[in-house]
């Protein structure tokens, strides 16, 4: 296998890894009302780059599943849709955190 194929594989697997944690990352940052673009900026500052084309549809899907609540705020310079984690989302996030901690410990043992 050449370097280009290896890089393509690596890119694909990296994307899958990130896809696996994005829901947890998003839920964890929505304890307060945030709109999509500010969430992207905050996650980028924390080192988690998310594409706008990925985040906005994800916010909609999480809201459809009851994990987020949203409202339009029209008092600012332009109308924006703000999102906040719902009680159901908080429950799911708490469980995901436990799963994540257990997974990290397991992987640390596996990777030794």
């Amino acid at each position: 296998m050449n370097a280009k194929q290896t890089n393509q594989l690596l890119e694909g697997y990296t994307q899958e890894l990130r896809r696996g944690v994005i829901v947890m990352a998003v839920l964890s940052q929505l304890g307060e009302l945030e709109y999509g673009y500010s969430l992207i900026t905050r996650l980028a500052q924390l080192g988690f780059e998310v594409d706008q084309g990925t985040l906005y549809p994800l916010l909609r899907r999480l809201e459809e599943r009851g994990l987020l609540e949203s409202e339009w705020v029209v008092t600012e310079s332009r109308p924006r849709r703000y999102y906040k984690i719902s009680p159901a989302g908080e429950q799911v996030l708490a469980e995901l955190k436990k799963e994540w901690d257990a997974l990290v410990q397991t992987m640390q043992k596996v990777m030794k």
Binding site: Y35, G36, Y37, T41, Q52, G53, T54, Y56, P57, R60, W72, R78, P79, R80, R81
Partner: protein, 348 residues
Amino acid sequence: MKPENEFRLLFERYAEEVGGYLPRRKRADIQLEILSLLEDSLDDLSAQEGRPADEDMALAVLRAHGAPIKFARAYRPDDNLMRPETFQLFKPLAVFVGCLLLLELLLTIGLSVSRPHPAWGEMLMDWVDGVFSALGILVLSLAVLERTTPAGWLTWLFDRGSEDWDPAGLKKRLHKKTVNSREYGFEALWLLFLIGLFGFFPQWVGVGGNLNGEWSFLPVLSENYLHYQPWIVLYFLGRLVFCVSLARQVYWDSRMRVFQIVVKAYGLGLLYAMLAGRWVIGLNPVYIAFHHTPLEMQVWVESGGVVLTIFFLAVSLNLAVHTVILIVQVFRLFRSWASEDWKAASAN
């Protein structure tokens, strides 16, 4: 027009094009959100560049978001016409429809050969048109049924409940002979077709052709068929229940063997009765004349008398062979029961 108004128009146009790919229910809401996203992105870029926003920046923002259809696709990740589960039902149905279409093609070729100047090109185009129509209707019907029926109804035959699957069931059939569910599912579909045809439209079973520009059709089954019709439909129903049960169970056991033997014995008995009793095939001179069949077709049918004789001989031979097979199956079933009883007695 102020530059920011021009950018807004550009962004509104983009949001409108994205919205064209979205469901109507959510369209306006998502478009508004996309608009605020684009404007926020532009403000951010302008702050990074340290200069007021201009058209190049606006275009760069749009370029970064990609084509409208690409953006919209992220909002509809499950946008398939048919789910994978339903596709499992589509495959045998498509094969079944394909067989019927092939049969139609063979019949059409056969009838065309008898004509002095057959229009092969037109015939082939009509057939291809029919293939596309049939498969298209099948796909659309399944897509509609999938969206309007309760979950699991369509795939009941193949899906034995993946949510409550119990691995202990594997142990039960560890030493049993398994079957290919799809084969029996396919036979079940064929039996449904036969029940419909022989049960409700027996007059459609016949031969037809285009003679001197006029379409003629001669039903093959005589009025005597009506005496046997309920018993024939009952046989098909019995066989249908057997195929569905076996397809769901996936393996052979004594119960299925008995079921198969009973249905087969009934079918053979019925065939014996039909061969020995009044004929159900009506291709004789009186019958043909009764249906005002054109002379050319009469000649054609009467010249097929040898074919009919061979057909009846083949049926009789088939009947004899299947009777022997049935006797062997019954013998084997009793032998397996006897050996199980012997093993149970030995264990005690």
